[in-house]
């Protein structure tokens, strides 16, 4: 802020960032009012990838909305699967077999790691480091192969069903996942040596992009953004769902409130997800993966229901209003990046443009999830 105040000349110009700028990772446009290299005002312009999923939800049966859930946050699609099936299971009172819940947790956490790896690669790429992206995608490839073998798709998953999952894991999945855990644990020190302790990266991220805890509260920012600002909030612990209470894991929290803190939160989360997956594999119970007698035509009782899960970007909530018919009366999607991006305008005031881009990268935005 001080640098901005000292150099303010009163002469400003408007700079248009996006909607096809590589740093915005999707079609996000930001209208910037600049004073030289400093940002006076930033106004994100949304809607380029708006598909109106909420209206689509009102036009199809509860089952038919499932594929839509894989097409909002394409990096952590299984969390969206999870939020939606949990919501409908809560509304319709469907019990899920334990094995299915374990498989949900394992695949969802694998997906979280793959999401963080894409963020890691793309973020460091934004900052000018090209090769970490190749390492990250190399690791992500293993996850995609594993998930493809059980879900049938590599990106827009539609794997969870009301009352369970679409099919059981195959015999290669457990050894494959164990091998991946071992591999990833070896790679993490390399990532830290190669990237986290890199002096250029540290200078680009430390003390850049301050987001206070109060700002998170006022804007509703959650996930790694809030946890990088000292807020110990993770839906998996805070409002436990599925079988998460069965596992021993930590919520990484950093108090620096800068881009580096958000970076470290995500890197630590990869290790915590590995811990969860390992415990889930050890405890994986035998049994069916689908509840018996889930009706073909689900008609939840009248009323409204809310369910939140922890997606890679923060608290993802879905609210459904049912009128007792086979179609949702109203389906609201509360997506985490929407709230996380909202604070960008206020937080980047007075920032240098390259710093603002680093800051934006640290928010880990997925635009189709914001626009829905």
């Amino acid at each position: 802020m001080s640098a901005f105040a000292q150099t303010q000349t009163g002469e400003t110009f408007v700079l248009n960032l996006g909607p096809q700028h590589p740093a915005t990772h999707g079609v996000l446009r930001v209208k910037l009012v600049m004073d030289g290299e400093y940002i006076v005002e930033a106004d994100p312009v949304l809607g380029y990838a708006h598909r109106m999923h909420e209206k689509m939800g009102e036009n199809r049966s509860w089952h038919q909305f499932l594929p839509n859930t894989g097409r909002m946050d394409y990096l952590h699609a299984l969390a969206y699967n999870q939020a939606y099936v949990s919501l409908v299971e809560r509304a319709a009172g469907i019990e899920v077999p334990e094995r299915a819940e374990y498989i949900r947790v394992i695949t969802s956490e694998l997906n979280r790691i793959s999401s963080h790896l894409v963020w890691f690669g793309a973020f460091v790429l934004d900052l000018g480091g090209f090769s970490p992206l190749l390492y990250a995608f190399d690791d992500r490839e293993v996850i995609l192969d594993l998930l493809e073998s059980v879900t049938g798709s590599r990106l827009t998953y539609c794997y969870f069903r009301f009352g369970g999952v679409y099919n059981d894991i195959d015999k290669n999945f457990v050894p494959g996942t164990r091998a991946f855990i071992a591999r990833m644990r070896e790679r993490m020190p390399m990532y830290h040596a190669l990237v986290s302790k890199n002096i250029i990266l540290m200078k680009r991220l430390q003390d850049v992009g301050p987001v206070s805890a109060d700002m998170c509260r006022k804007y509703g920012a959650t996930g790694p953004v809030a946890r990088g600002s000292g807020i110990d909030f993770d839906v998996r612990k805070h409002e436990p769902y599925s079988v998460y209470p069965e596992f021993d894991f930590d919520i990484p929290v950093y108090y620096e409130c800068d881009s580096m803190a958000r970076y470290m939160v995500r890197m630590d989360e990869i290790e915590q997800s590995l811990r969860i997956i390992e415990q889930a594999l050890n405890k994986l119970p035998e049994g069916p993966v689908m509840a018996p007698k889930v009706p073909k035509n689900i008609k939840p009782p009248k009323g409204d229901y809310y369910h939140a899960v922890e997606a890679a970007r923060g608290s993802l909530g879905m609210r459904a209003v049912s009128d007792g018919s086979a179609t949702p009366y109203r389906l609201k999607l509360r997506t985490p990046s929407f709230s996380n991006l909202m604070l960008f305008g206020e937080a980047c005031r007075g920032m240098l443009l390259p710093d603002a881009l680093a800051f934006m990268g640290s928010l880990d935005l997925v635009i189709p999830e914001i626009d829905r």
Binding site: R217, K218, F233, R330, S339, R372
Partner: protein
């Protein structure tokens, strides 16, 4: 880390008392495992900003704002009432020419806490033909985009909002796709 046990019960009681003080239209305790929230509060538009102010002071963060279109709700209620009244003859329910005019749009605000699990749902009802509620952007800046989105989708006018321009819809959009009579 979410606080639990006795502290949480005391806190919820405190929140209930604080909300009671702004005299809501209704306040219902809901079962979290079944519904996904703890407290369901309905207030009048006039009391909205004050109520949100209470939640802000109590340390809540804003999850989201959205709307629900209750088109046809009143007609159904009248029909049900008529059906229960006239048990003998099947007379047509009385649906006046202004039947749709008294339908409402509901604006739903979701609040949650970082330190303890307590989800509060706040509802405001506003006439469908002229939907207007006060903006809460003065309390939570986070309402800025949520209110713009609700304006996009439902045409709800948030009085006092600094710029209710389309957020997700095209900049010249003059339609509100989540209204139940959209495209009819």
């Amino acid at each position: 880390m979410a606080q639990g046990g006795g502290w949480l019960i005391m806190k919820r009681e405190e929140i209930r008392r604080a909300l009671k003080a702004v005299s809501p239209v209704s306040m219902v305790d809901t079962e979290h495992p079944k519904k996904g929230f703890h407290l369901d509060v309905t207030v009048t538009p006039g009391r909205l900003v004050q109520t949100v102010g209470v939640l802000d002071q109590e340390g809540f963060f804003i999850e989201t704002i959205t709307g629900v279109d209750w088109l046809g709700e009143k007609a159904t209620l009248r029909k049900d009432a008529a059906a229960t009244k006239d048990t003998g003859e099947a007379t047509a329910p009385e649906v006046g020419p202004k039947a749709q005019d008294d339908d409402v749009l509901e604006v739903v605000y979701d609040f949650n806490r970082f330190d303890a699990l307590c989800r509060v749902v706040l509802r405001v009802r506003t006439p469908r033909h002229k939907p207007e509620v006060p903006s809460i952007t003065g309390v939570y800046q986070g309402a800025l985009w949520h209110e713009r989105e609700a304006h996009d989708f439902f045409g709800i006018n948030f009085a006092g909002h600094p710029g209710l321009t389309p957020l997700l819809l095209p900049e010249d959009a003059d339609f509100h796709p989540l209204l139940k009579d959209f495209n009819k």
